[in-house]
Point group: C2
Chain length 424, copies 2
């Protein structure tokens, strides 16, 4: 028996005031057409990482919509998770190989998890590579439809490792990718679906914060709530270009000497390399303490990020490579305009001149930021449109709806659906 | 029953080649005179922190010497350990109060631990404030002699908190402090003993490292083993003056452009304030990557510290306030001369002109360092004497001997020993 993850109940009704009664009713109606559908989400861990964060919020809402949704996690050892970490990195394009020994570890634990799999489901959604081999090793037994949900940008996947993994992906009826450009060239899936991620407007990071309370939070972080504030929320790595953000800030500061910059990111204590770019960022900031460099080990959590995004005059996301960049939606949801790199999922969120600006170099970034700092009405107009854009496209209710629509279409196959024949 | 800490056996014989057969025989002879003595070490935790590190090495050697030594730890909750952390800070001089609520927590857990105490001992050594109230709350039952081992510099203890703690310290027969200057003015103890800490020459941090192997470790840390190297191993806080060390290094670098500086310290993930000075250090280092700032979350552990101390040309310990500063002994043990602040336990280890130099400001520090860099024979002479000094005074065998001598003198009281009357 695979371990069941306990779910805190949650209610769609709580979202009605944000997305409208009509949207909630349309979700409920989809749910009624699938009433009692037995759905399993299968993933690697119950805590830590974006996938667990999404499932913890999505599964309860799926249940509230009438689906018999459960969430289970696979068994693994340190050794297994080291192998799947390599697998993950290779799918993102790292130049690493999966030797015989590592493949044996992956297959041994996959067989164990295939054996531990129990019960009968209508749909099983398998998240990411760690549990991906389970349906192949069970010869599809235990579910009518198998979906592989890939949260990774596999557009530049290491070919050797991808071709190894692909041998286990053949039994799937469908795959979900975040964006069309993430799909590898030789995708083996009979059906593809594209579902971007989402933010939960009721989570601590995104719920409305009183401006006075937010100001107090900023003061505790030694950020002056009464001076202009630029913010980037991102890991400290070269693809987020924190050094370029500092360069842009310095150009702006020549014109606006009171401007402040906060760079906030999360640090993993088990990732020695992660420290390197954090250190470079601090050294590049040097003696300028109007640049604050913050992370979770300082005690910066959801409330602090919320307060910073709420009170920032401009949010920057100067990525040169990006998965989806959900922190852009988080900022827009708070009515803050965003100046960001034109990569990955960012252009879906930042609509040029509407919700923010797309830039490449530090100078272009500085120009847009400076121009926004000088025009409060423009900031406010972009912010209002940004919030509305996120409300329509990137809230968890839309995410849930996409899943329900996919389940429906997979279970009422058209005559040309190759998945159907295979099931006979 | 208080929880027993499992001990890995260890043998005095293994130290004979380092401290001499004669010294081992003198310890064994002391052990024979106390054969079968029932000794309990009582402390707060089995892992983490200097006290646990010392006991894990000292208790097995005490057993090998013939003492029936055990080590047990007290029960506690997060709440209790938060209170004792405040107590600890106050004893070091912090301006904090222990209100009624916190005192109640301390007393509730102390009563619980006094109740859980079981067995009959000849001597119980109680380490630091966390378990300190146990003998008072048992009315001394369970042991013939109670010793309080204070590992803290209590010379500037907060008076209110000290006077509260003192009310529980009256039943002790003796106290051990690290240095005479650590004893508070109104010590309540009938007997005082002074035992400095020690290093274990067989621990991974101190065992001999092949220079080629040490060079490979340095290269992995991006330190060039072929260029002059300065090193400070210390927490990042104002009392260790890492900014002053960087200033000294910069003065030296004008004369010796190839010189490198490594600042290595450990970071606690649960101490937000600890990050502040680490950040200041990096910002002060700025773009000079000949300064390496390393910590445990980078994967810098015992082996790396050993390699750095082994290959450094000069070790600096520019403290402005210091408990004992055992990393000075660690460096001297590797034959590396030390330039250090004249505070705390440092002058016991750094003998002026013999094993290193005592300094105050950055310029004096730079002068001594520069002069040592220019004189390899002097470095070598100081290093040789430093190792011999540590061999005689700061190895774990000396530490063990001090304990055994104290046990002996406490159990064969002189006619004037006030401890005796109290026992009648």
């Amino acid at each position: 028996m695979l371990q069941l993850v306990k779910i805190e109940p949650s209610s769609l009704a709580d979202y009605a005031s944000l997305v409208g009664e009509e949207e909630i009713e349309s979700i409920r109606s989809l749910g009624r057409s699938l009433k009692g559908l037995r759905v399993l989400h299968l993933s690697a861990t119950a805590y830590g990482g974006g996938v667990a964060e999404i499932l913890a919020r999505l599964v309860p809402l799926m249940r509230d919509a009438g689906i018999m949704a459960e969430w289970r996690i696979i068994y693994g050892s340190d050794e297994f998770f080291n192998v799947t970490k390599t697998l993950h990195n290779a799918l993102q394009g790292a130049d690493v190989a999966l030797d015989e020994g590592r493949r044996a570890v992956y297959e041994r634990f996959s067989a164990l998890n295939a054996e531990a799999f129990d019960g009968e489901y209508d749909v099983v959604v398998v998240h990411d590579p760690q549990p991906a081999a389970v349906p192949a090793l069970r010869e599809r037994k235990g579910a009518r439809r198998w979906i592989w949900r890939c949260h990774i940008d596999t557009s530049h996947a290491n070919l050797g490792v991808w071709s190894y993994l692909k041998s286990f992906l053949l039994p799937y009826d469908a795959a979900i990718f975040t964006l069309p450009q993430y799909v590898p060239a030789d995708s083996p899936f009979p059906r593809l679906s594209f579902i971007p991620p989402s933010i939960d407007p009721l989570a601590a990071k995104n719920s409305p914060l009183d401006r006075a309370e937010a100001s107090r939070v900023l003061a505790r972080l030694h950020v002056d709530p009464n001076r202009p504030l630029l913010l980037q929320v991102a890991r400290f790595d070269p693809w987020k270009d924190p050094l370029g953000v500092i360069d842009s800030y310095r150009m702006v500061k020549i014109e606006v000497p009171t401007v402040q910059l906060v760079l906030a990111g999360s640090m993993a204590t088990d990732d020695p390399e992660g420290w390197d770019y954090y250190e470079r960022t601090l050294r590049h900031a040097g003696a300028d303490y109007d640049i604050r460099v913050l992370h979770n080990l300082h005690g910066v959590g959801d409330l602090e990020i919320n307060a910073l995004q709420t009170l920032a005059d401009v949010v920057i996301q100067k990525s040169t490579r990006e998965g989806f960049g959900l922190s852009v939606s988080e900022a827009l949801w708070k009515g803050t305009p965003v100046v960001a790199g034109d990569v990955g999922g960012i252009p879906l969120q930042v609509i040029e001149g509407e919700t923010g600006y797309l830039v490449t170099g530090p100078l272009a970034c500085a120009e847009r930021v400076y121009s926004l700092l000088r025009q409060p009405e423009l900031r406010s107009a972009l912010g209002t449109r940004g919030r509305e854009h996120v409300r329509q496209r990137f809230l968890i209710t839309r995410h849930l709806k996409d899943y329900l629509e996919l389940f429906g279409s997979l279970l009422t196959p058209s005559p040309t659906d190759p998945g159907k024949e295979r099931l006979q």
